[in-house]
Structures are given as structure tokens and as C-alpha cells.
């Protein structure tokens, strides 16, 4: 059996997550294999449906890298996405998906190291959880 490489969709806010991902690159931190970075202007742009659809379409984990509270360039984006996350969590519970598959992480521009660490931790966690049960077999 081939090794399970969890597929993670990482939404990165352009104010924090994305520069942090660049910083991780610049510091030559290795990131897990199957990470798909989605760049958004603000975490507030991330709609609930993106989170749900990412899972429906087979992502094993979804991460949101947003700014710290009180430090959103657009003041409320990170708070709004937190609300949407709780909606998505409720739905996941009903569907029977583990909450751990969807998480928000707060970062600052200069925390590339932390971003890499979080991604690796998530991969380990997802490996334990196993593949996304709703992924359609092709």
C-alpha cells in the first residue's frame, strides 16, 4: 500500500499567511508534499462554501491562515471567517467529519517558521485520522 499523503488546502491571507509561506520558502523550510496554497486578499474573502466544497472535493484537511485578532488589515476579516468556520464545523459534525480537518491558525507576516510547523503537525494529525471519508473514489 502506498503511503497516505494527506492533501491540505491552505487558504492564506495575503496580509499574513501568504508572506509567511514565502518566508518559509526563503528560510528553506520544507513543506509537506500535498499542500495547495490558495491566496486570498483577506481571510474574510473565504466563504463557508469554499471550506465545505474543499472537503467535498476530497481535501483531507483545510487550513485557514489568518491574521491575529485585532491585527486584520481590514479590521474584521479574521473575525468573520471565524464565524463561518463555526458554521462549517457544525455542518461537518452532522455529516460525520472530524472537526480537526478544518482549522484556523493565526499568524503574522513574519512567522514563516510557525506556518511550516503547523502544516507538518497537521499532516501528522491527518495521517492518524486517515483519508477524508467523503472523497469519491475515482
Amino acid at each position: 500500500m502506498t503511503e497516505f499523503n494527506p492533501k491540505i488546502v491552505a487558504f492564506c491571507c495575503d496580509q499574513s499567511g501568504y508572506p509567511a509561506a514565502d518566508m518559509a520558502g526563503a528560510l528553506k523550510r520544507k513543506l509537506p508534499k500535498e499542500v495547495e496554497i490558495v491566496r486570498v486578499p483577506c481571510a474574510g474573502r473565504i466563504e463557508t462554501i469554499y471550506l465545505i466544497k474543499a472537503l467535498e472535493r476530497g481535501a483531507d484537511g483545510v487550513l485557514i491562515f489568518a491574521c491575529y485578532e485585532d491585527n486584520c488589515q481590514f479590521l474584521r476579516g479574521n473575525l468573520r471567517v471565524k464565524g463561518r468556520l463555526s458554521y462549517a464545523h457544525r455542518m461537518m459534525e452532522r455529516v460525520g467529519l472530524e472537526k480537526e480537518r478544518l482549522e484556523i491558525c493565526h499568524l503574522a507576516t513574519n512567522q514563516g517558521v510557525r506556518l511550516a510547523e503547523i502544516l507538518h503537525q497537521k499532516v501528522e494529525q491527518l495521517k492518524k485520522l486517515g483519508p477524508n471519508p467523503v472523497r469519491q473514489k475515482k
Binding site: 496580509q15 499574513s16 508572506p19 491574521c67 491575529y68 485578532e69 485585532d70 491585527n71 493565526h106 503574522a108 507576516t109 513574519n110 512567522q111 517558521v113 510557525r114 510547523e117
Partner: protein
Amino acid sequence: MTLTKDVLIIGGGISGITVAMELAQLGIHSAIVEKETSLGGLSASFCCKASESCNKCFACVVDKRISELSRYPEISVLTQTEVIGVKGEDGRYSVTLKKRKERFDLRASAIVIATGIDPFNASQKVEYGYGRYKNVITAKELDEMLRFKGLLSRPSDGRPPKTIAFFQCVGSRDESIGNLYCSQVCCAYALRLIKTIRHQYPEVEATFLYMDIQPAGTSFQEFLSSCREDKKIHLIRSLPSKVYHSPLSDKLRVRFIDPEKEEVVEASFDLIVLSVGMVLSKGTQSLTETFGLSLTEDGFIAPPSSHKGLFIAGACSGPKDIDRSILHSKSTAFVVHQFLRGRA
């Protein structure tokens, strides 16, 4: 070789960068002279001090500003460059600069000094053992460790410390070393460091030894209460008198008066962090001589009395944190702009 710019900015820290960017937005060309290899100065070595939420340290603002700098073609940056001398006066300056071995002149109508400050040399406080004991470090060193290594460790053995003591007012409010001023930022700075460490390493216990807590803005009160509520943060109003190396273990022993017990006590810590104050660097002091500027009683640059095209911005005019340095630099940019407009 001679360059001509509207404004010469000495110092490429957050203050110098802010002045340059503000002026650039008004179409004023400037050159930033920075003695180090890269821009950012002291504040660019700061780590993010957020815990659950942002603790308003402004370090991220510095990073953002530096990355935005390339947006402005009006700004030229001269790194590894130093000021050697100045000729002229009253808005017609010719400054001699040295980049490695090369000397050249730069003509400018106005000069902004934004050289910032140096952290106080902690080895002057002999009783705290900085330089003697490996595990006595400055807050700046701790900050850099967190930013670049991303982890907390003791210099002596690389192991994570369990107990940390923060000594406040090292080099500030201290007549014995001649610094009779408050550095204004260290209380909030050290408490933010404690908070972010407590968030990332919940097992660490932090002791904050202080004289008076100086407030720092809008949400400081809430921030301070959250520190007080934390059972593993001890705020003790008492400055330590001495640090020993404990011969039986690798811990450091600290002697201070416990205000609760009302007697002298000793406590052991894995790591001691000195909240060093701000002083004007030697380089800046000689710069003030070059430009004929005077110093304040506290040893910072006094505001130039007449507007001859010499300006100061940021912490070299007196202790300032990042946000107040940015504000001060903006206000300086305004004055510079008015000065240039008046001449045109």
C-alpha cells in the same frame, strides 16, 4: 561622484523608512543611508508578540513597510554607507559618504537624522552578571531568538527554560549609571514577550521584577489584567539586587525584597532576561557633533532650534516604541515637506 537628492535620511530603521515613504508620496526624492547591510534597524529583529490575539507590538508593521519600500522609485537606498562629514548650511548641504572604501558626496536640501537608539550595554550593570553568566541575556537577544530560531532555549545548554525572570529598568531610571530617564517602552515590551512565551510554551513560568509599570496605549489595561490573571506570570514590584550562579545546579539565584513577605528572599531561575533601556549610540553622538546638534539632558538629540533644514525623526529624539516612532516620523516628514515648499 556626486548625487543630488531633495532629502538625505540618515538611518534606515522604521523611522527613516517612514520618512522616506511619506516624502516619496509627495514626490520628494530621498536617499536613505544605512550603515548595516540591510534596512530595518533594531525593529526589524523583533518577533511577533501575539498570544491568542494581537498584543500590538507593531513588529508586523515594520515588516510590511520594508516590503513596500520597493514600490517607491523616489527612494534610493545606500546600505553599508556612513556619513563622514558635512559642508554647507541652511538648506544647501553637501554630505560626504563612505560606502566601504568608496567616498562620494551627496547634495541635499534637507537632512533627516533617524538613527534610532542602541540597547543599553547590560554588562555595565555588573551585579546582574550579563556577560559572565551565559543564561543572563537581554530582551533583544530573546526577541531575536524567537524570531529567527522560532524556539526558546537556554544559551548554556540549548534546553528550554522552565522559569524565566525579567528584570526591568536595566539602564533606565538609574542614577548610578547616569541614565535618569524612563525608556518608556520596556514594560510593555517585556510583558508582551512574556505573554507570547506563555502562549507558545504553556509550561514556562515567568517572573517580572519591576519598579513601576508604565502604561502603553488604548488596550494596555486589558492586556495588563490578562497578565495579572495568569497564574504563571508573577508581577513583583521589586528590583533585584544581585544574581549568583548556583554552584549545585545550573540555575541562577536572584536576590530581591519580596514585598509580600517584606524581607529579602532568593529565588532560582533557568533564564534571566534583562529589559535593557535605550541609549543614543556612539555613532549617533559623533553624528550630532558633525552636524552641530546638541543633546538633551537625557542624552538624546535635542530638536534643532532653527529650521535650517536639519530634522530628527524617531527614537533618537527620545525613547519611542514602533508606533510612536512611525507617528513621529510622519510628523517630521510633514515639517520637511513644509520646509522644502517654503524654499521652492
